[in-house]
Symmetry: C3
Subunit: 244 residues, 3 copies
């Protein structure tokens, strides 16, 4: 059971963050809020999202699963202006989500969640942790785009570097420790990632957000950030491309 | 004979409203102004437009017909800024329209009107009449777009509803009487329309315009609105799709 | 040898002006600045560009040639905001240009200039000279676009005219002498040009720029304008299309 209402902005943010990896997703509902775990079809990236009931204007939930067509929900949310309230109600008999925006009532059929199991999130210890603005990530990605399909993330005690190497060209975006919000590192680590995935993830983070980035040596990268004014949290995990 | 001058804005509005249904159109000119009747190639929709001489800055006209390539005229009017005056003169010998915009003189050959007869406008009595803002129509259309290719218009004494039904999804945009400018109805009426036609018509209405909408039961819908500050008037008629 | 720094705006302007005609170009560097001469692949148009050291924030140069992929440089400059400084350094060993924008270091391999000889600029005397705003040129081009693939430039003692003749339509944009900044002519001249080339050139001129236009009778047209606040100069030459 779900009967809740939230600002359109918050729902749009969730849709942006999830649509980066999957077209359809299973949301787990309970009395405390909504959560989701999903892996992209190529099994390269993973998202964990939690949204506490504090993110909603009103919230009543009992344990259930909602299979949602993310692109369809994105379209529907375009009917809402920035500050509009959107009400969501699960019609269990018809397996529909009833979405109300102003004078519009939109009934959206839910996707069957039978085949959608929650992925197991690997327990990874990553030695290097930093905090930086989403804008910095996106700028480094933009710099790499004309050079290669991959981006290397490199960090040591004094700096974080995003770099790419092409056949004849190269680029380095080097942020000294002072330009990061924080940096904790012991020694140098470096991992290489597919630029398209990393770019899609970074672009889904709202401008102005602070991102926590965890990095290792030829290990996955973890990106974490808050949504819904701190009432929700997103964790992305992206597998490295092992350099030959 | 036609020798006239008008603000570019007014001519652009006419072009927008007519290009919705036809690529070429026959304008009837006389001493009192300009008028047009046209049916779209699929014979699903019709437009009647009248533009009194008061819509022009200067106007001299004698009975004649001008066959105009609407898309070409649209392109030409892009040379004019919002408040520019556009002068129009019919060169009968060459069957050209001479269009002057500032220091530009553009000679546009006219289309042969021999095969373009005025369609007969059916005399239809529609029981339900309402007035509403063009924005409301367009919002209801937007809500329907992700659900179906058709839109049902439904009205009774208390409300006007735009709704669509898809295979698994549905949407209703229900405007209670208080949100309409006016509503006169006896009993419930409902007609179904092709969404693309209805959408093109509604989008051609300038923002902020008041629209008069006439509706019946499995009958055409009539949309009427003023243009050129009340010196012109447009009437759209759209055939219903009969529900099986 | 080149080691210099300039505002991003100035470099973007150069890239815009050169990319109109060629994808790759050879820049000649010496102690006084940078210059370029290039012909488009179809040998219809030519550009001469000079950029004095005064256009740079800092400048050290010795005689050398830099073969630059213009489109790639355009992409790289998108990393810079309007007022950003961009530093350029030629790494002769690796034949790379090292471009620094803020915390980004971008190494771009240079193109082999072996086959890129400087074209000989023909010495042409053109009888008619005028000065006008870039906007006027672009407006006349816009007016011609829906009529023909060619544009005729016509001038006499009293006016400058841009006109096009199609199968059934025609357009004239006639600027009387008073609407030009200056006009020096003896008798009437007229030359016809391919509209796409003329349009690309005119569009590359920054808004607000004053353009000097030299015209003859079935002769090339010369367009000249300053860049980099008068520290640089561009000369375009476009061959006429001889009318049959």
């Amino acid at each position: 059971m779900l009967k809740a209402s939230a600002k359109a902005d918050i729902l749009k943010q969730i849709v942006d963050v999830v649509s980066t990896l999957v077209d359809e997703a299973k949301f787990n509902v309970d009395a405390d809020g909504v959560s989701l775990k999903a892996v992209d079809p190529a099994h390269v990236a993973m998202i964990e999202l939690t949204l506490g009931k504090g993110a909603f204007e009103s919230y009543e939930g009992e344990e259930t699963e909602l299979g949602i067509d993310i692109e369809k929900l994105k379209e529907i949310l375009k009917l809402a202006h920035a500050g509009d309230s959107v009400s969501l109600e699960h019609n269990e008999d018809k397996n529909q989500l009833i979405i109300k925006i102003g004078d519009v009532t939109r009934r959206m059929s839910l996707v069957d969640t039978a085949g959608m199991s929650d992925p197991k999130v690997p327990n990874i210890e990553l030695p290097t942790t930093m905090r930086l603005k989403a804008e910095e990530l996106n700028y480094g990605i933009k710099a790499s785009e004309s050079v290669s399909d991959h981006i290397a993330l490199v960090a040591d005690e004094s700096s974080f570097e995003m770099s790419s190497e092409g056949d004849s060209d190269s680029v380095d975006y080097r942020l000294p420790k002072e330009k990061l919000i924080s940096l904790e590192a012991k020694g140098k680590v470096r991992s290489l990632f597919p630029l398209d995935y990393f770019s899609n993830m970074a672009r889904a983070i709202a401008g102005g957000s602070e991102v926590k980035l965890n990095l290792g040596n030829n290990y996955p990268v973890k990106l974490e950030f808050d949504i819904a004014g701190g009432n929700g949290h997103v964790r992305y995990l992206l597998a490295p491309r092992v350099e030959s």
